[in-house]
């Protein structure tokens, strides 16, 4: 059973993962708090996506522990975590190209109820997209649909892998604001990416993923005061 006293909604601790001889993660940790946005930053290949997939139960770690609201289980899987209130939006896509946007919303309503769907459609401005197949949508529109599904689902924990990638600056702002809205509604939002400008604005906590491990830098202000992070990740001199 879950532990309601648990301070963190989701914790992944001491995670290790290798693919063949390549050690991608070694004792990496991350956690998400209800009502807050936690962001993983790091260079390509630093292990951000692997860590998020392990936290979401999509990949199995070689070692380490995942807990959702204090409920620690070996072999967590996404369907089981989803039944407990987690939602995972992968970098590739959450929605299936072969179906209409409306089909996804209907499927969500059939599983979790239709409460919040109308509001989510209007909040993400996807009314005009409802009868289009996902195949015909742009990357930004697909992300808006994914976030509309997340808004309608109202997950307790939302993991979104690189939501700002390939989006225009305007769409990045919109998606960033939507993640912030979800956190304000009580979800623990955990995300990743490279677009420091938007991500710093919406985040409450920054985790720096480097060489397969993680450094918890604190708030965006704390992160910007971290000289090694500024030098090695943001590329600032001095």
């Amino acid at each position: 059973m879950g532990n309601p006293e648990s301070a963190y909604a989701l914790r992944a601790e001491g995670i290790g993962k290798s693919f063949g001889r390549v050690e991608v993660l070694k004792s990496a940790s991350m956690w998400g708090e209800s009502g807050k946005v936690t962001t993983l930053l790091g260079r390509n290949g630093a292990g951000k996506t692997t860590l998020l997939k392990i936290a979401a139960g999509v990949l199995r770690p070689d070692y380490g522990v995942i807990s959702l609201f204090g409920d620690v289980r070996e072999n967590q899987s996404l369907p089981r975590l989803a039944r407990s209130g987690l939602m995972f939006v992968p970098q590739t896509q959450l929605v299936s190209p072969a179906y209409r946007v409306r089909d996804h919303l209907r499927a969500l309503a059939a599983t979790f109820g239709s409460e919040g769907i109308t509001e989510a459609i209007s909040e993400m401005r996807i009314e005009a997209l409802l009868d289009q197949t996902v195949r015909s949508l742009s990357g930004g529109e697909r992300m808006r649909v994914s976030l509309a599904l997340a808004l309608a689902r109202a997950p307790k924990v939302l993991i979104v892998d690189e939501p700002l990638v390939r989006l225009s600056p305007h769409n990045q702002e919109d998606v960033g604001n939507s993640l912030r809205t979800l956190a304000e509604k009580g979800a623990a939002v955990i995300t990743s990416g490279h677009d420091a400008r938007v991500l710093f604005k919406i985040s409450d906590a920054i985790i720096w993923c480097v060489a397969g491990t993680t450094h918890h830098l604190g708030t965006p202000t704390d992160a910007l005061a971290h000289s090694q992070f500024r030098r090695e990740y943001l590329g600032e001199e001095g």
């Binding site: 999509v58 996404l78 995972f88 992968p90 929605v95 190209p97 599983t111 109820g113």
Partner: protein, 106 residues
């Protein structure tokens, strides 16, 4: 909250894909049985128990690949549906089709 069967239209698509695969694989196996062993119709339409298990395993594998290729598995997982549950649907449909075929041929 329905957690047993995947929601429509995702369930419909899985059922149709299983039906098409089952028909195609049966046609191929029937052709093979006639050409290689000379089994006459309609007996050639009914595969052995081993061939039936192989056919179901192939269908499960193709459905898994298809769900991944079309990003359906991530969406259904987010709704709490595991692939294990989908396998049950696939196997149940295959067994119904096999039973129907055997009943029709007699």
């Amino acid at each position: 909250m329905n957690r047993i069967l995947p929601p429509r239209p995702f369930l419909d698509a899985i059922l149709v894909r299983v039906l098409v695969l089952w028909l195609v694989l049966h046609a191929a196996m029937n052709f093979g049985a006639i050409m290689m062993t000379g089994t006459p119709l309609p007996q050639s339409l009914i595969p052995s128990a081993g061939s039936t298990l192989f056919l179901i395993a192939v269908i499960v594998l193709v459905i898994r690949l298809e769900l991944g290729r079309r990003s359906e598995i991530v969406f259904l997982s987010n709704l709490g549906h595991s692939f294990r549950g989908i396998v049950l649907v696939v196997v149940a449909e295959c067994l119904v089709l096999e039973a129907g075929l055997r009943a029709a041929i007699g």
